[in-house]
């Protein structure tokens, strides 16, 4: 095989060949590459939005739940020590109760709207260090530690804010009074202080009161139904779980956010699978495209191939000549495509994220996506270029020259 001659012929062919064909071929390769990166990045963005949503609004990074035989976490000393672990940004202890909430709009006992919703208590200051619910207030304001008889409700409970479950909502606004029936048969009346919308239907079906309020209802003190912990580096949860256990949480159930995702976890896995399938299809399309381009080139240069063989060029040198052309199209396509993605498409989507039900989705262009896309396109180009070149080069000299 004579690499130098193959390179010379490929370069001359590109330089002196039809400019229109060259531009179209590079454009196709660029778009094929953009397609590969864009699809993976969008789905990567969706998965990231789902994960971020779960961490920021529902679970934090780590969730501590009571031991199997207990209703509450009662290790108050350990609870206070969680935030002393280096890298822990905050912890928030919740009491959780399954409540029935009723709203009598006309105060006449008729047409009462009601439903069963999860009520959690929070220390508003602690909660701000763990979740971002305080940033998702769409009406009224967030709870304060001193609030009494005030309640914060999700938009799916309030209604009227375009929620998925609007038909089951109470139809209340900030300032309205609602009756909450706790599981221990205590009834309290609260004024709606704020309504939040997090883009997570599960979170938007929750209601919150202050910790003090809940302790007075449940008649407990310094305990928790769950503790959410937020850490600095998502991904290193196991390391922190070990440290948390050493504080004295011997029998408590400690889980990572990803262990609790359930439906969202399978949705996330499905998005990843769809992304892989579309990526494979995109790679095949790119391979078939380059196959057709090189096939047409081989057919048009059939006589030239015969002449090259007649003057002593080997089959492998001829194959390499066409494969090098294909590689050139691939490399230029990757360079232009990557530039387009990194300098135009990605900045645009960062400024204008897509409004998905799971959250604001931007492109998640990672080094892995770029690396895999480069590898996929180059493999497609190599295979797509090789087969027509091989077919052309294996023809006999006389058949190539005279048909």
């Amino acid at each position: 095989m004579n690499i130098k001659t193959s390179f010379f012929l490929a370069l001359t062919s590109i330089k002196r060949g039809n400019k229109g064909t060259l531009v179209m071929t590079i454009l196709i390769m660029t778009l094929a590459y953009v397609n590969l990166v864009f699809i993976s990045s969008v789905f990567g963005g969706i998965v990231e939005a789902i994960n971020t949503q779960s961490i920021d609004n529902q679970y934090g990074n780590i969730v501590i739940e009571p031991a199997v035989d207990k209703k509450y976490i009662d290790n108050s000393e350990a609870m206070e020590l969680i935030t002393t672990i280096s890298g822990v940004l905050g912890s928030s202890a919740h009491y959780v109760d399954n409540t029935i909430i009723k709203y009598d709009e006309r105060h006449d006992g008729k047409d009462i709207k009601s439903g069963r919703w999860l009520l959690k208590s929070i220390n508003p200051l602690d909660e701000k260090n763990v979740t971002k619910i305080h940033e998702s207030i769409i009406q009224g304001s967030f709870l304060e530690a001193t609030d009494k008889n005030k309640i914060l409700i999700g938009k799916e409970v309030a209604g009227g804010h375009g929620g998925d479950l609007d038909h089951l909502s109470l139809g209340v606004s900030v300032g309205d009074e609602i009756d909450v029936y706790f599981s221990n048969d205590i009834k309290r009346t609260y004024t709606v202080k704020g309504i939040f919308s997090t883009k997570s239907t599960a979170v938007d079906q929750m209601v919150f009161v202050t910790k003090k309020e809940m302790e007075s209802v449940l008649k407990v003190h310094k305990r928790a139904s769950e503790i959410l912990v937020k850490i600095e580096n998502t991904g290193s949860e196991n390391e922190y779980i070990n440290q948390i256990r050493q504080l004295g949480f011997k029998n408590e159930d400690i889980k990572k956010w990803s262990d609790l995702m359930g439906f969202t976890s399978s949705a996330s896995a499905s998005f990843t699978m769809i992304s892989i399938i579309l990526g494979v299809i995109g790679t095949i399309v790119a391979g078939v495209t380059i196959f057709i381009i090189i096939f047409v080139s081989v057919v048009n240069k059939r006589r030239q191939i015969g002449i090259l063989k007649a003057i002593g060029m080997t089959k492998n040198t001829i194959i390499l000549y066409f494969v090098m052309q294909a590689l050139f199209y691939g490399v230029i396509g990757i360079i232009l495509g990557a530039s387009l993605i990194l300098f135009i498409v990605r900045p645009y989507f960062i400024s204008n994220p897509l409004d998905f039900p799971v959250g604001w989705v931007s492109l998640k262009v990672t080094f892995d996506i770029i690396r895999i896309s480069n590898l996929s396109l180059m493999t497609a180009v190599l295979i797509g270029g090789f087969f027509p070149a091989y077919r052309g080069a294996k023809e006999s000299i006389l058949e190539s020259i005279w048909g």
């Binding site: 004579n2 130098k4 001659t5 010379f8 012929l9 001359t12 062919s13 330089k15 002196r16 060949g17 006589r303 030239q304 002449i307 090259l308 063989k309 007649a310 003057i311 002593g312 060029m313 080997t314 089959k315 040198t317 006999s396 000299i397 006389l398 020259i401």
Partner: protein, 221 residues
């Protein structure tokens, strides 16, 4: 003998087999200029293709410079074609994207000759065939006769043992044809280049040393 052909046969298989060459035997001395002549379908081009390793005979032997070419692998044939043989085809057979200089230095590049040297040798060869002022012209910028002279320069640049020419003047006007044939004669006389040329023009006989006439796949003289 530079070429010895023994019992060479070529049959094209099909419903009715075509016997293109029937038991051909002849020899060529070094420095001979031979014309293969005969009517269309006589087998003259087929014979040239077998001698030039462009096709595979059905049976027989072609011994060139003491080597039996029938024993060669595909790779060895390519190497032999590159280093020992030169070809001039009927319709110029130049690559449209290469200039005259590039077309001529291509076989040298394939042989692994250094860049400086292959440019020098190719330029000299083009000057020898009278195209010193056409080095950087593409085929579309040259006349048919000029293109054929580029093809001759390409065929000769590796100093081949034998130059094969398959009706090299068939597509040329009479003036260009004369230039090409005179060039062949000159090469044959001056540097002792062995040339085997297929032609159907009786007038071409005056340029060659010997004529081998074929009829129905058999040598008649």
């Amino acid at each position: 003998m530079i070429i010895e052909v023994k019992n060479l046969k070529k049959t094209y298989e099909g419903k009715v087999p075509t016997y293109a060459l029937k038991n051909i035997n002849f020899g060529v001395k070094k420095g001979e200029f031979i014309a293969l002549m005969g009517r269309s379908g006589s087998g003259k081009s087929t014979l040239l293709h077998q001698l030039g390793l462009l096709d595979i005979p059905t049976s027989g032997e072609v011994i060139m410079d003491g080597t039996n070419l029938m024993l060669f692998t595909e790779k060895q044939k390519s190497e032999f074609r590159l280093k020992k043989l030169g070809y001039v085809f009927q319709s110029y057979a130049l690559l449209p994207e290469l200039t005259a200089l590039e077309s001529v230095y291509l076989p040298l590049m394939l042989s692994g000759v250094a860049k400086k040297e292959y440019i020098k040798k190719a330029s000299e060869m083009l000057k020898k065939v009278g195209l010193g002022d056409r080095l950087h012209h593409l085929p579309k910028e040259m006349s048919g006769g000029e293109q054929q002279r580029v093809a001759i320069a390409r065929a000769l640049v590796n100093n081949p043992l034998i130059l094969f020419a398959d009706e090299p003047t068939a597509n040329l006007d009479s003036e260009s044809s004369m230039v090409i044939l005179q060039l062949f004669r000159e090469l044959n006389k001056k540097i002792g280049q062995t040339i085997i040329m297929v032609t159907h023009e009786p007038d071409d006989k005056k340029y060659v040393d010997r004529v081998i006439s074929l009829k129905d796949g058999v040598i008649k003289n």
